[in-house]
């Protein structure tokens, strides 16, 4: 208690109050306190050093902050890129589906009497040159043996084997396949059948053509509709070569099918002709 009654304590209080009031009053009235100004001037170089040091440290810390920020930005960009890639893939899928539906529509418009079922290829014949396909449609979907399989380009082949929810398709270039046909220009009849050698080139042949038939290279060959598989008027392909048969007085025409069997691996969908709508109006 001696201290609080001392002159020293009173002086301290007075000085403190004076140092509170005088600078505050001077500051309020807009005057500069000389003592404070002097201290500030002396301290300026030290303050400058302190600020630079702090800025250097802040800059050093900012490198790590920047790293974290960049990592976060990288993650965000990766996520964005992945999203965009997904969108692009989805867009490509939709475009492919759209193209397929257009093909489907063109065939359905051309032949409104056809009852078509679309099918997806789920597997292919093993080997370098595959023209036997397995589709995702079977007996539960109303698929039966010998039903024609079409593309918008023309005839692909026919159903050779049917399972519960799958079926196998043999193309027209297979040696086991044959169909009655005629040429569009001259109406020359014949039989289009597969050949084991021509199959390698994605081609088939038309046989039993009369030796004096009006047939030329470039003639379009259509299905005749005389057999039990294909309806008449479906495009098979185009004649590329004509030869005389060595063993009979007939001609053999080599046909390049409208369906590109050399590029059959890029196929994903086909159409199965499941029946005919007898009430449909056939365009002239």
């Amino acid at each position: 208690m001696k201290f609080y009654r001392s002159r020293f304590f009173l002086i301290c209080i007075c000085v403190a109050v004076a140092l509170v009031l005088i600078p505050s009053a001077l500051s309020i009235f807009g005057y500069t306190d000389l003592l404070r100004s002097g201290i500030k001037t002396v301290a300026k170089p030290f303050e400058w050093c302190g600020s630079r040091a702090a800025e250097a440290i802040a800059g050093f810390i900012a490198v790590f902050d920047e790293h974290d920020r960049l990592v976060a930005e990288n993650e965000a960009l990766k996520a964005k890129l992945e999203k965009q890639e997904n969108q692009r893939a989805e867009q490509e899928r939709l475009e492919a589906e759209n193209a397929w539906l257009k093909e489907y529509l063109s065939l359905a418009t051309e032949h409104p009497e056809y009852l078509l079922t679309d099918a997806t290829i789920i597997s292919r014949e093993s080997g370098n040159y595959a023209t036997v396909l397995t589709l995702n449609r079977g007996s539960v979907h109303g698929i039966k043996k010998k039903m024609p399989v079409l593309l918008s380009d023309g005839v692909f082949g026919h159903v050779s084997e049917v399972g519960l929810d799958w079926c196998k398709v043999v193309s027209i270039v297979e040696s086991t396949s044959s169909a009655s046909a005629y040429t569009e220009r001259g109406g020359v009849a014949g039989v289009v059948e597969g050949d084991s050698l021509l199959r390698q080139e994605g081609m088939c042949r038309m046989t039993y053509i009369a030796a004096d038939a009006d047939i030329r290279v470039g003639d379009r060959v259509l299905t005749g509709g005389n057999g039990s598989i294909y309806p008449p008027g479906l495009l098979i392909g185009e004649i590329t070569e004509i030869h005389a048969d060595e063993y009979s007085r007939t001609l053999i025409a080599y046909i390049k099918p409208a369906v590109d069997f050399e590029d059959v691996t890029s196929l994903t969908r086909v159409m199965i002709l499941t029946g005919y709508d007898t009430g449909a109006e056939v365009p002239s």
């Binding site: 001392s6 020293f8 301290c12 403190a16 140092l19 600078p23 505050s24 500051s27 702090a54």
Partner: protein, 179 residues
């Protein structure tokens, strides 16, 4: 008698010099280095931390003079307008000296004084903020200003203890400057 007066004079001068330099550097550090860096989003009151150390390790008279001087320095370097620091620091110094007198002069006691001093310092900041604005709620003030300032002051003042001990030791023993 004359020799005693001379010794006292020398002791006071030495103290003024050592503590003056110490508080000047701490005020500069507080007002430039830490005001740029702003650890914990606040500026630590290093001068206040050092003052608590003086209160514990030196006499009440030294603490009172240091409080007025450091308060004035802090206001001169880093404040505009109303300057309450000399009075606030003096009150803190007297309070801490009164408590410190009953404590052993060790690190733990200093931490206790530092916490008390920082609380009082935060109260001073509260008065200062309330004088400037009335719109902020107390909870918001506590969260954004007072608590960060308190923790920042305590945390960044802790390394000052060896320096304070050193300064007190070279500033001579307590007995030379006591009324």
């Amino acid at each position: 008698m004359h020799q005693r007066k001379e010794a006292l004079k020398t002791s006071v001068l030495r103290r003024v010099l050592i503590y003056g330099v110490l508080f000047f550097l701490l005020s500069v550090l507080q007002c430039s280095f830490f005001s740029v860096l702003r650890p914990l989003n606040s500026i630590p009151h290093l001068a206040l931390g050092a003052l608590c150390g003086i209160c514990l390790l030196d006499t009440k008279e030294s603490a009172a003079i240091c409080a007025i001087g450091s308060g004035f320095l802090v206001d001169a370097l880093g404040s505009t307008g109303l300057s309450l620091s000399p009075l606030l620091f003096l009150i803190i110094a007297l309070f801490c000296s009164a408590i410190g007198k009953k404590m052993l002069p060790n690190f733990l006691s200093w931490v206790v004084l530092l916490v008390m001093g920082s609380i009082l310092g935060s109260l001073g900041t509260l008065i200062h903020v309330l004088q400037l604005t009335h719109t902020l709620s107390l909870v918001s003030l506590l969260r954004t200003v007072l608590l960060p300032e308190f923790f920042c002051t305590v945390l960044f003042s802790l390394p000052l203890y060896p320096l304070l001990r050193f300064c007190v030791s070279i500033a001579d023993s307590k007995n030379h400057f006591r009324l």
